[in-house]
Symmetry: C2
Subunit: 231 residues, 2 copies
């Protein structure tokens, strides 16, 4: 019963992922033509993605032409928070019906790109739906994947959601200002992280208190410089 | 294009939900025969479900025959944490393949029930996969749905994940010991919660510091008494 079920599921899902990969490739070609570096930012709900983007836009305004693609099940709350920075923002709501999709896929991103002047954007940050499982399964045409992990979630999370932690090039370990009030074991978190994604780059930060924000902005600028220098 | 996509998706998903509802009904009948009250507990990753269960088992041992069904993408870490209480625990891993399903469905719960002595369990708590979207879409045969919301996630979450907040009978508002260190607006959270699920019952608690744990245990005991008194 279990095996049969899994086999059927595998067949169906292969079809879904083939279509998604083809659309992700179309997005990729658009990004390449525009010379836009694209980050797919993922996390649990409430880990701090939007707060980090606020700090990023404050700091990089005038140094890097940023654009934002906001993915949410419902509302434009995150886009509203970022609007005051005057950068191009597109909102994609993953939709009504059955309560909304739990991730962005390549087609949703393609749809959102229609609202963005890609030629005027050096770095596009895609803020995915808050979820530690499904977003990691869908390529959207990004150059790099970054996840935000809030230390309030506990040190065991890399082991419990390994695909997410394994699929990223950088982990922003956020809310470290709360560490004195938590029982979380940060050294054990790092061991768990290395168990699923050995040596993956990590930046300890607090969007609230400001630690690490400059380092993250430097990371973005360095990627941009590297891309600009490529033939 | 968008409409066509949605129509296709709707058709496929209706099939999935029909099958799930039929299996949920089978689970429901098993629970009724055993006289077991069943709670489906949901939340974001790291909101504190397992910590709340630890406090619950400590307090209700000897007063209520509890059983636990643990749903995780991978690992048995949560079941391992609860094992020392000596209550029946079944583990369902939602599994490999494409990184694991992001929710428990009725068939996974049915599978897990094979490992539980339902006749000896008054109240079964199903700890769902950490995710604020998909678990709310799948009935598993439960009597009641409870969600754990961590105040660290921010006051906007009911608006951003309305199906989850709307689908539950009780919200455990956890980690309130951290409130002095956060910028979260709890009154606004309550207004947002009431906007999507007017007047839904809520218990403010801290599994870490102990506030509200007794109230939650009383809630469970009262449901059990009510069920036992029913004809």
């Amino acid at each position: 019963m279990q095996l049969e079920r899994m086999v059927n599921k595998t067949i169906v899902r292969e079809g879904v992922f083939d279509a998604n990969d083809a659309l992700a490739q179309m997005n990729r070609e658009r990004f390449d033509r525009a010379g836009t570096f694209v980050v797919n930012m993922m996390s649990s709900p409430g880990a701090g993605k939007t707060s980090i983007l606020e700090r990023t836009l404050e700091r990089l305004r005038g140094r890097l032409r940023l654009g934002i693609l906001e993915g949410d099940v419902q509302t434009t709350l995150d886009a509203d928070r970022l609007e005051r920075f005057g950068v191009p923002i597109a909102q994609v709501n993953t939709d009504p019906g059955f309560g909304g999709e739990c991730h962005l896929d390549a087609n949703m991103v393609r749809f959102g790109l229609a609202g963005l002047p890609l030629d005027d954007i050096d770095t596009l940050i895609i803020e995915n739906v808050g979820n530690l499982v499904c977003p990691a399964e869908f390529k959207v045409g990004e150059d790099m994947r970054v996840m935000v992990f809030s230390v309030t979630e506990g040190e065991d999370k890399p082991l419990k959601y390994p695909l997410m932690f394994r699929s990223v090039e950088l982990v922003l370990v956020n809310k470290i200002d709360l560490l004195p009030h938590l029982e979380v074991d940060l050294a054990q978190f790092e061991r768990n992280l290395d168990a699923v994604n050995p040596g993956v780059e990590r930046i300890f930060m607090s969007a609230h208190a400001g630690q690490g924000v400059e380092k993250w902005c430097e990371w973005l600028l360095a990627r941009q410089r590297k891309m600009a220098a490529a033939p």
